[in-house]
């Protein structure tokens, strides 16, 4: 009897197909269960219109973020009812244009975009320091306009966006601005070099690791990191584990309907910790 090709198995019974690989400790594209695809980060790719930008890719998922600082007046900040650093000094826009995936439709903000935006705002809240935005106290402040695009989607968008955000923040350089004698108008001081935005230390920067859990039977489960598009569909549940290098701040959020147990959480936490350590070390060595 002829055996069917494996693409047929994948189409007809994707979970069985996937299970067969996991049981041997490997995934269909050859990676081990906690192995990441190629991570690349390119800072400063957009130079004409924004002051800080970065282009990050994990495997074939690509995210592009540009940060443009603007000057706003104190009364605009007071007008708004936001009390957090984010509301006052940053505005984040995340877009998933139709380019990235065959199922994204233009005109409607996708759910994934909203999730990513929320996560980026949460992260900025943790990283930025409020007093680094002041130009003239009670008059002029910096406002960062952060715009993010996903150019290609192949699973694990949130980590790619986070990577791009960190790259853009590290790339961002604010010009030195002086006010004239009456304090009304500002002037750019081009003789002085541009300064970087002051933020909290790198080891306190949070990182998220989406961990996928695949149940094969009530007693058997597999914990998988860095899910690609196909794998995300097969997972029973996906947990986003937030942590930083120091290990003192932890948050969890769950996506998809599967079950969780303490053992799974422990496994996920350990795998996530190892990965976060690796990523943060790479950042620190770059800086």
């Amino acid at each position: 009897m002829q055996s069917l090709g494996w693409d047929v198995w994948n189409a007809v019974r994707p979970k069985e197909f996937y299970k067969g690989f996991l049981q041997r400790g490997i995934r269909p594209d050859g990676r081990k269960l906690s192995e990441y695809r190629d991570i690349t980060l390119r800072k400063g790719s957009l130079v004409t219109t924004v002051d800080g930008s970065a282009n990050a890719s994990i495997g074939r998922t690509i995210a592009l973020i540009g940060i443009q600082p603007k000057v706003i007046e104190w009364k605009e900040i007071k007008k708004g009812d936001a009390r957090t650093v984010i509301g006052k000094h940053c505005s984040v826009q995340v877009e998933f244009p139709s380019v990235c995936h065959r199922e994204t439709r233009s005109g409607r903000t996708s759910e994934e975009a909203l999730l990513v935006k929320e996560s980026l705002e949460y992260v900025l809240e943790q990283i930025l320091e409020e007093n680094s935005f002041c130009i003239v106290p009670e008059k002029y402040y910096w406002h960062l306009q952060i715009i993010a695009y996903c150019l290609s989607l192949d699973g694990n968008a949130i980590e790619t966006f986070l990577l791009a955000l960190y790259g853009a923040l590290l790339d961002l350089q604010l010009p030195v601005v002086l006010s004239n004698t009456s304090g009304d108008l500002l002037k750019l001081d081009q003789s002085q070099p541009k300064v970087k935005l002051s933020t909290k230390k790198l080891e306190e920067w949070p990182w998220v690791v989406p961990v996928g859990v695949f149940w094969t039977s009530p007693s058997e489960h597999y914990v998988v990191l860095d899910l690609s598009e196909e794998e995300e569909k097969n997972m029973s549940s996906i947990i986003w584990i937030w942590n930083n290098q120091k290990g003192d701040k932890l948050a969890l959020s769950k996506h998809k309907e599967g079950q969780l147990s303490e053992i799974i959480l422990q496994e996920g936490l350990e795998a996530a910790k190892a990965h976060i350590e690796e990523v943060m070390l790479r950042f620190q060595s770059q800086k």
């Binding site: 090709g5 494996w6 693409d7 994948n10 269909p28 594209d29 050859g30 957009l46 130079v47 004409t48 219109t49 924004v50 930008s53 495997g59 074939r60 998922t61 690509i62 592009l64 540009g66 443009q68 600082p69 603007k70 000057v71 706003i72 007046e73 826009q93 877009e95 244009p97 139709s98 380019v99 990235c100 995936h101 065959r102 439709r105 233009s106 005109g107 903000t109 002029y140 306009q145 715009i147 695009y149 150019l151 290609s152 989607l153 192949d154 010009p175 601005v177 004239n180 108008l185 500002l186 002037k187 750019l188 690609s228 598009e229 196909e230």
Partner: protein, 261 residues
Amino acid sequence: MERISQRYGPFFEPTDWLETKYKRERPNNAPRPLVLNTGTIADAAGSGYVELGKTKVIVAVYGPRPPIRARAGVENAMSGRITCEVVKSSFCYYSCESAKIPSRGFSEEERLLSIRLIRVFEPIVILDKYPKNSIDLFVVLLEDDGSAMAAMTLATSLALADASIELLSLVSSATVAVSTKHEYLVDPDRIESENAVGLITVSLPLHAAQLCEIQHNGKLSVEDWLSTVQLAVEVAQTIGNSISQFLLQESKNKETYPLSS
């Protein structure tokens, strides 16, 4: 460094208009350095990425697939259809005031660009081979530093070739601007385009003796027009040769991918 005050906000003292000191660094008839890439978008049938100097465009081709928005009568159509959606990212807008608000659908400019792109490629793609199907082009203009339409056409050619869609020929495109001093500037950047008297973009299928599209902005005398178009056609021919060489190389490097991912 130009228009610094507009970049950071309206509260700055007026400075000298730095653009009068702008000087073109390359010779008048040299196009900018070109970067080409295909296959960057995972899910698309084909994708192309072009950098013309600092202008960056990425194009994805999805299809041939059943049309998403089926209009009446499209089921009985015996030839395919091309649709196009252009997105100008917020990084194309220099001044902070005119930044784009993403939730309002497509702006007029984006719709105009999509219509133009369809006009270029409708005679080129052999639609009779794809009945009842639609070929969808999605374009993101990442950064606009002049000759955006030319970059978009080049990227779309690459993407269609990468998607193995049947074309009559590859299309290459070039822009030439006529400055106030009556110079012919090939592949102008944003400042040159804005200060030009006339701007002509030409789209040229490489294996035909005809042009598929000419786009003209500004005022030009007839002789100027003819010489600009001729110059643009020559430049487009050279750029087109680089594209075909690049695609040949890519096809040699392509191995059959394993079925896993």
